[in-house]
């Protein structure tokens, strides 16, 4: 009897122990389930490749550990990203949960209803100290739809700046940093091919790198974007600007300059094989990377040159948004909230990122320290450029839904002139005619 009762007690204790052990082993999971409601979710995140994107990659495991969300992070090159995402969004596919809202496509992607409005996420799922107001209002504007709702959270405000990698050659010629288009020509004439350094190169995405010159000469892309989308590419001012810009590339560019992408341009500046460029701040600031650049100590920076009609630096904004087809919108918002937070912006700045969209990052001492290269304060130049663009309002051309069509015509026109196939007037007249044909095909009444 005693033995039987003892055996029964022993069995009961064993069951109790197992139950406690089981409950204990489940408990963390229960705790995790409460703290990590999206545990086990896989998020497909895609942005084009760039400086911030590279800095973000090693930080993603922290987000994964904190949320239990697995992130598949894809960063193809800029044109590949845009083509792939444009197709994915247009089919309302579920392949992407978080996507970059590319500036030139923002009007088209948001206007077509391909992104999810984020207002309810901001109101209901975001603490107030995350601070939307800290993101520059000018950066939020292109991410706002006609319905007044916000469709993307900006992580980048990039401005076109002028850079010289071999300013020592300019000084040796007795000249200063060029502030106007005429001065730039004089400087290039003096330094071209000196010490095996070509005068000028820029990214062959001319739909982005040419407009600062187009507007500086008094031209414009459209008659009055976004209300009147009649292209203005064959105006005398536009022809003069194209002629000037093509002259810089043709007569002062390295061999094969019209095949240069942004990366090639930056490499050429960092190695000193090319002296001048006007490209985005996030790229020119790489000249200051002592680990990979030979020209840190000979570099100089300034605003894009002023033309007969003024100074018109290009400004671009990139943001993170949630495609409408995503099946993981709530988890996607968690990623966006994290990736565009004050903390991540500051950490990116500390690691050398030069184009954050948050005021707190832009005004931080770390930013000023990191973005001062060879004595030049790139941060101050960037803020001046954003101010000029905000006052002028000329960047509206870039966010109209049909801009990608005209963007391509600008690329072709500059290539035609630089390669000597057509003169500026012929090439810009062709660009005008083909832009009109493309816009009509898109159903735009001109």
């Amino acid at each position: 009897m005693y033995q039987a009762a003892d055996k029964q007690r022993h069995r009961r204790r064993l069951i109790q122990t197992m139950a406690i052990a089981g409950a204990t082993s489940w408990f963390p999971a229960l705790v995790r389930a409460k703290d990590q409601p999206y545990q086990g979710t896989t998020l497909n995140v895609s942005l084009f490749n760039g400086v911030f994107q590279k800095l973000l990659r090693p930080l993603i495991p922290e987000f994964e550990a904190a949320t239990g969300i697995r992130v598949v992070y894809d960063t193809p090159s800029f044109p590949i990203y845009n083509q792939r995402t444009d197709l994915e969004l247009s089919t309302h596919g579920a392949g992407l949960d978080v996507a970059n809202v590319t500036f030139i496509y923002s009007g088209r992607w948001i206007g077509s209803g391909w992104f999810t409005p984020l207002d309810s996420y901001l109101a209901e799922r975001t603490p107030s100290d995350w601070d939307l107001e800290d993101i520059l209002p000018g950066a939020r504007a292109p991410e706002t739809g006609k319905d007044g709702k916000l469709y993307g959270i900006p992580w980048n405000v990039d401005v076109v700046l002028a850079a010289a990698s071999r300013f020592d050659l300019v000084q040796a010629a007795g000249l200063g940093f060029p502030g106007t288009t005429d001065e730039l020509l004089a400087v290039l004439k003096a330094v071209n091919k000196k010490d095996r350094s070509a005068g000028f190169a820029t990214d062959n995405h001319y739909g982005w790198t040419f407009p600062p010159y187009l507007y500086a000469y008094g031209g414009s892309v459209f008659a009055d974007a976004p209300d009147n989308l009649l292209p203005m590419l064959d105006s005398p001012e536009a022809v003069a600007a194209a002629d000037y810009f093509a002259h810089l590339l043709r007569d002062y560019g390295p061999s094969g300059v019209i095949s240069y992408t942004t990366d090639q341009t930056v490499q050429s500046l960092k190695s000193g094989r090319t002296n001048f460029s006007t490209i985005g701040q996030s790229y020119v600031s790489q000249i200051g990377d002592a680990a990979s650049s030979k020209t840190v100590d000979t570099s100089a920076f300034g605003l894009v040159p002023q033309g007969p009609k003024g100074r018109f630096p290009g400004v671009a904004v990139h943001a993170l948004g949630i495609p409408v087809g995503s099946k993981n919108k709530d988890a996607a918002w968690e990623f966006i909230k994290w990736a565009t937070s004050k903390e991540i912006a500051l950490r990116a700045v500390q690691a050398g990122y030069g184009s954050p969209a948050r005021r707190s990052a832009l005004t931080s001492p770390e930013y000023r320290t990191r973005q001062t290269i060879n004595g030049y304060d790139l941060g101050a130049l960037a803020i001046d450029s954003v101010d000029v663009a905000a006052k002028g309002g000329y960047m509206k051309y870039r966010t109209v839904p049909v801009f990608p069509q005209v963007d391509q015509q600008l690329n072709k026109a500059i290539e035609l002139i630089v390669s000597g196939q057509q003169n500026a007037e012929q090439a810009m007249r062709l660009a005008q005619a083909q832009s009109i044909a493309e816009l009509k095909r898109a159903g735009i009444k001109l």
Partner: protein, 297 residues
């Protein structure tokens, strides 16, 4: 009386045997083609798919194409690229095959080396040639500069860009012709060659009157395959020139790609694809007729 039922049952057996393959072929080839043709009669744009998928003006895209100078230019570029690269591939492939047509162990190894470009992924080939054609990093340009013959970038020179693409395309695909010709050469009987030699024919005469007629069907087939495949030239153009400078290297499928994937004009791009398909059919019909005609002689 007994033959007909046998023929009928034979036919039925063929049909039953072929049916699964035909069904699969229909599902993966004919249905998408049919969809392509249907879409080509609409102005479908993916930015507004509901309002643009209609048949109000079914021939609108084709009418626009007829007046689209950039499309017409792309057809001309396509023809130049296809004809030049296929001609070069046939000449180089034939020449290399003749050189390598012997039963020696070392030649077998050399043949395998020549096959490498053909088995590389097209994007890798494009990157190799991007390096070769970029003066700043190109060993080719550096070598020419060192011997006092500096050459400007070929892919940004409007007179050379298409030739540069054609050359790279030839490098990648001449091994295909080489393989076809080698196979034909190795099947060739020795008797007529020996007879010709005994009759005093020189090498050129042997090639012209015996070898070439024998391998001509293989060359025609290789040419046909390569010509049709050349319409798909895309990675080289995408990576090396992006269709430029201007539109000098913009072939028809690249133009169709821009219309579909940059601008979302799927109706218009489908019309371009339909015309390309028709062109490929026409070409293969013409060449097969030409090849067949000569075979019969």
């Amino acid at each position: 009386m007994t033959i007909l039922p046998w023929e009928a049952s034979r036919k039925r057996a063929f049909i039953i045997g072929l049916a699964p393959a035909l069904l699969v072929l229909g599902a993966i080839t004919l249905l998408p083609t049919l969809a392509l043709i249907v879409v080509s009669f609409t102005p479908l744009s993916l930015t507004d798919p509901i309002n643009t998928f209609h048949f109000n003006n079914p021939l609108g895209n084709y009418r626009q194409l007829w007046a689209d100078t950039r499309f017409l230019n792309s057809v001309s570029v396509q023809l130049k690229l296809s004809l030049s690269s296929v001609a070069l591939q046939l000449v180089v492939g034939l020449g290399v095959a003749l050189l390598l047509n012997a039963r020696q162990a070392i030649l077998s190894a050399v043949r395998a080396v020549f096959l490498i470009p053909m088995v590389l992924p097209p994007i890798v080939v494009a990157l190799i040639w991007k390096i070769m054609y970029t003066p700043e990093v190109s060993p080719l340009h550096r070598m020419l500069e060192n011997v006092g013959l500096p050459v400007e970038s070929l892919i940004t020179n409007p007179d050379m860009a298409l030739w540069a693409i054609s050359f790279a395309e030839t490098w990648q695909w001449f091994p295909f012709t080489m393989l076809m010709v080698l196979a034909a050469l190795q099947m060739m009987p020795d008797d007529p060659l020996e007879a010709a030699r005994i009759d005093g024919a020189n090498r050129w005469q042997i090639f012209k009157y015996i070898v070439f007629p024998y391998i001509r069907p293989a060359l025609v087939i290789a040419g046909l395959f390569r010509l049709i495949d050349s319409f798909k030239a895309f990675p080289l153009i995408y990576v090396l020139t992006n269709g430029g400078p201007g539109t000098v290297t913009e072939v028809t499928n690249f133009y169709g790609f821009i219309q579909a994937f940059n601008f979302s004009y799927w109706g218009y791009a489908s019309a371009i694809a339909v015309l390309m398909l028709a062109g490929a059919f026409l070409l293969s019909w013409l060449i097969s007729r030409w090849g067949g005609h000569h075979d019969d002689e």
